[in-house]
């Protein structure tokens, strides 16, 4: 019985947990968690595509997420015309040099046969490009960063609606994945893990230090939103009427006009924040649904079956004439593109881009826990994993603080051991994550919602 309704049961428990938070803490918190749960679920689906379908270990989720965030900035921020007019040409020439150098290296490695000549030519091209960049790139960067450094100091973006960045982020992440994949996928599987770990660190380093690109650690704040602002909702007539109508029974119970108005104001402020979060939730659910539908379609297509065949037995699949490296590259690119979308959505939700907050534990390894706990190879499992693990990640802190307060309740307030333990309580969430991962791997190695093998008729 439980086996049969496992999926439904898992999601029911999840919904109950969110409802409990809604009632016990507040609905605003609950919907906030829900939104991030969806973003996590999308990331987990991307990793699931790579790991669950194809068995690729991508330890660079953070890099693709951050790249998605960067794309959100570059698409939505207003262009800084001053910077473009002063240093735009220099930057465009630098870009041109990089492109020409990359294309020539590509053709040299493809058409020059002698190994020695090939390496010599590649080094030569890189040196030429470095000299060219030294003349154009460096000075332009200084010029850009000098323009109003407290507020802008970067090139700005395209000034388009931020929703477009969700699509653009997919392409950007796919491009990065194509480069990494071409270099590392032919090698042994653990090397991919290390290489992606390295790439993600490099992406973060670039975002932190290239201030002309996205202001580095000075952060870009105030990105435009795809949904209304709370303050405008609170002023608009229809929203106030709507809230009044929703709470009419509560309001009519109050006698005096002034306290009625006070309560209404409070309700409107609370309601506007929930309304905005619900708008985001609506947008995110659409993205999640589309991606889930496509992933499911891919999984049950001949392409999906081929990937699983490659995953389960590379030698046999290769003997059947499947191009293993090529298929791995394809699925690696697709999975990374999905992670890129999630990254852009995350930055959209935050309304700001803060490269300093990207940390591998939070953005790479947590996603892995989600996939493993949810059930690798199963998209519903990944969605559940994304929801459950994100929920635990947020709620672990209050839980561990409550737990530690309970354990140390015998000690006086101000006792050094107690103070240290309570101050350290937030670190318990890492412990809980590790414990959940290890327990799942040990007792439920296929995850909460295991992979189903669908046999075609």
């Amino acid at each position: 019985m439980i086996e049969k309704y496992r999926t439904q049961l898992a999601f029911l428990v999840m919904a109950l947990l969110l409802i409990i938070v809604g009632v016990a803490q507040s609905w605003s918190v609950s919907i906030g968690i829900f939104n991030l749960c969806i973003v996590s679920a999308i990331m987990a689906m991307g990793v699931n595509l790579q790991w669950g379908y194809a068995g690729l270990f991508n330890a660079g989720v953070m890099g693709f997420t951050a790249l998605g965030g960067l794309v959100a900035v570059l698409i939505s921020h207003q262009p800084i015309y001053e910077a473009w007019s002063i240093a735009g040409t220099g930057m465009l020439i630098s870009l041109f040099i990089v492109i020409v150098a990359s294309i020539s290296i590509f053709y040299i490695s493809k058409y020059v046969n002698s190994v020695f000549k090939k390496r010599f030519l590649i080094v030569f091209v890189i040196l030429l490009a470095a000299i060219g960049l030294g003349n154009f790139y460096g000075p332009s960067v200084d010029l850009i960063e000098d323009i109003n450094p407290a507020k802008t100091g970067f090139l700005g973006g395209l000034g388009m609606p931020i929703i477009f960045s969700w699509v653009a982020a997919a392409f950007a992440a796919a491009f990065l994945a194509w480069i990494i994949g071409t270099v590392t996928l032919g090698l042994r599987s653990d090397y991919l893990a290390i290489a992606t770990l390295g790439i993600s660190e490099i992406v973060i380093a670039v975002l932190k230090h290239e201030e002309w690109l996205s202001r580095g650690v000075k952060n870009v704040t105030g990105l435009p939103r795809p949904v209304p602002y709370e303050i405008r909702l609170q002023e608009s007539e229809w929203f106030i009427n709507f809230i009044e109508w929703l709470n009419s029974s509560k309001l009519s119970a109050i006698e005096t006009v002034s306290s009625k108005q006070d309560l209404l104001n409070k309700l409107v402020i609370e309601g506007s924040s929930i309304y905005v979060k619900l708008c985001y939730a609506g947008l995110f659910i659409i993205v999640l649904a589309v991606l889930f539908f496509l992933s499911q379609l891919a999984l049950n297509s001949p392409w999906g079956r081929m990937l699983r065949a490659i995953r389960d037995n590379e030698v046999a699949a290769s003997a059947m004439g499947k191009n293993i490296v090529g298929q791995h590259l394809q699925v690696f690119i697709l999975g990374s593109a999905i992670i890129g979308i999630a990254g852009a959505m995350l930055t959209t939700l935050d309304g700001q881009f803060t490269p300093g907050t990207y940390q591998p534990l939070r953005f790479t390894f947590i996603i892995w826990v989600m996939v493993i706990v949810g059930g690798s190879g199963n998209n519903l499992g990944s969605i559940f994993g994304g929801f459950f693990i994100w929920f635990m990640w947020i709620e672990a802190e209050p839980i561990s603080i409550a737990f530690i307060s309970l354990v140390t309740s015998g000690l006086d307030y101000g006792d050094p051991i107690k103070m240290h333990l309570i101050a350290s309580a937030p670190h318990m969430r890492l412990f809980i994550m590790g414990a959940i991962l290890l327990i799942t791997l040990r007792f439920m190695p296929r995850g909460v919602i295991p992979e189903k093998v669908v046999r075609p008729r």
Partner: protein
């Protein structure tokens, strides 16, 4: 002073490139040795190694504080050196416990290496949490004793040269201790019976089992060595720079790069890889302006910093070296895979 320009340039290089790179390389080599041993004997990439180092260092710091509170110091040497053997023993025990609770199950199941790798991610989370829980995520220095062996000022007044050479005692300590550790490890692997059986097990598991080698013992000894190496590497790094859990986690990339560049599974390769990564990192991020100012005539002095890459990108260097080696010679410099 015209004639001394070359000497000045060399001293400058020794001060800012050679000595720091040698000590950083020794630390990386010890860390990479741990990774390579786990890979050779237990056959997986251990993501928890950075946090194991942090754990060992944390134990050493706690014991150091205990000794300091007793008034026990090592005079000119840092107190942490007295604490080191105890920390090594405790970390080795911790490794054995982790193996018994976590890894043993998967070994008996004969799980795939990638499963071990994911398990090591779980262990990484837990170790990370333990370290942050006990000692906190902040930066800590636990160095005491004499800081410099040669001070820049003394060197200047002694030699009369305008360029000073300063050598920190931690740098010399690192190099000396690392050398002793490596010699001991290679002696153990090459000459002792246990070391030979470890190499045999790593080379061909089935054949080793047939010749009567006890696999449990091999695994046990490996974890003990790995725990001790990680502690030594972590403490030396912490003494030389400072202890911060997140930095230790970030060392994972250069450590793995060192092990893979040298040929993963090959101890000699790990040592070579450690120095290669360290030297490239330091040499490529050093600003050579002053160096060229000594060597070139005044009218040819460089205008820029003469820095190949800003220090912000030192992670990129280990990564690029890794990629270049993997593309040109996928097995690493010393063909890896067995001890």
């Amino acid at each position: 002073m015209e004639n001394y320009d070359l000497i000045n340039a060399l001293i400058l290089l020794a001060n800012f490139v050679i000595v720091p790179a040698l000590s950083y390389g020794s630390q990386l080599a010890l860390a990479a040795l741990g990774i390579t041993l786990v890979y050779a004997v237990l056959r997986f990439s251990n993501f928890a190694h950075g946090d194991l180092m942090a754990f060992g260092t944390m134990i050493a710091i706690l014991i150091t504080w205990l000794f300091q509170s007793w008034g026990l110091t090592a005079g000119v040497l840092p107190t942490a050196l007295i604490a080191l053997p105890f920390a090594m023993a405790l970390t080795a025990a911790f490794c054995l416990i982790t193996d018994k609770i976590v890894y043993k199950f998967y070994r008996e199941q004969k799980s795939q290496p990638v499963v071990f790798m994911i398990v090591s991610v779980g262990v990484m989370f837990i170790m990370n949490a333990i370290v942050r829980f006990i000692i906190g995520p902040k930066d800590r220095t636990f160095f005491d004793g004499e800081k410099f062996i040669i001070k820049a000022v003394e060197f200047k007044s002694y030699t009369g040269l305008p360029e000073g050479l300063s050598i920190k005692s931690t740098q010399v300590l690192t190099i000396v201790i690392a050398l002793i550790t490596m010699v001991a490890l290679f002696y153990f692997l090459q000459k002792t019976k246990m070391g030979k059986s470890m190499r045999a097990y790593s080379n061909n598991e089935d054949l080793a089992l047939l010749s009567g080698i006890n696999p449990d013992r091999v695994v046990m000894i490996t974890w003990i060595i790995v725990g001790m190496l990680a502690t030594i590497a972590g403490v030396l790094y912490g003494l030389d720079k400072s202890f911060k859990p997140f930095t230790y986690f970030q060392l994972l990339l250069p450590m793995f790069a060192a092990a893979i560049v040298g040929g993963i599974g090959n101890p000699l390769g790990a040592v070579a890889g450690g120095y290669i990564i360290a030297f490239s990192e330091v040499m490529l991020t050093y600003a050579y302006k002053k160096f060229f100012m000594y060597l070139l005539p005044t009218n040819l002095e460089p205008s820029g910093l003469m820095q190949f890459l800003s220090t912000d990108y030192k992670f990129a260097i280990s990564f690029i070296i890794l990629v270049i080696v993997l593309v040109i010679r996928p097995t690493g410099i010393f063909r890896g895979k067995t001890l």
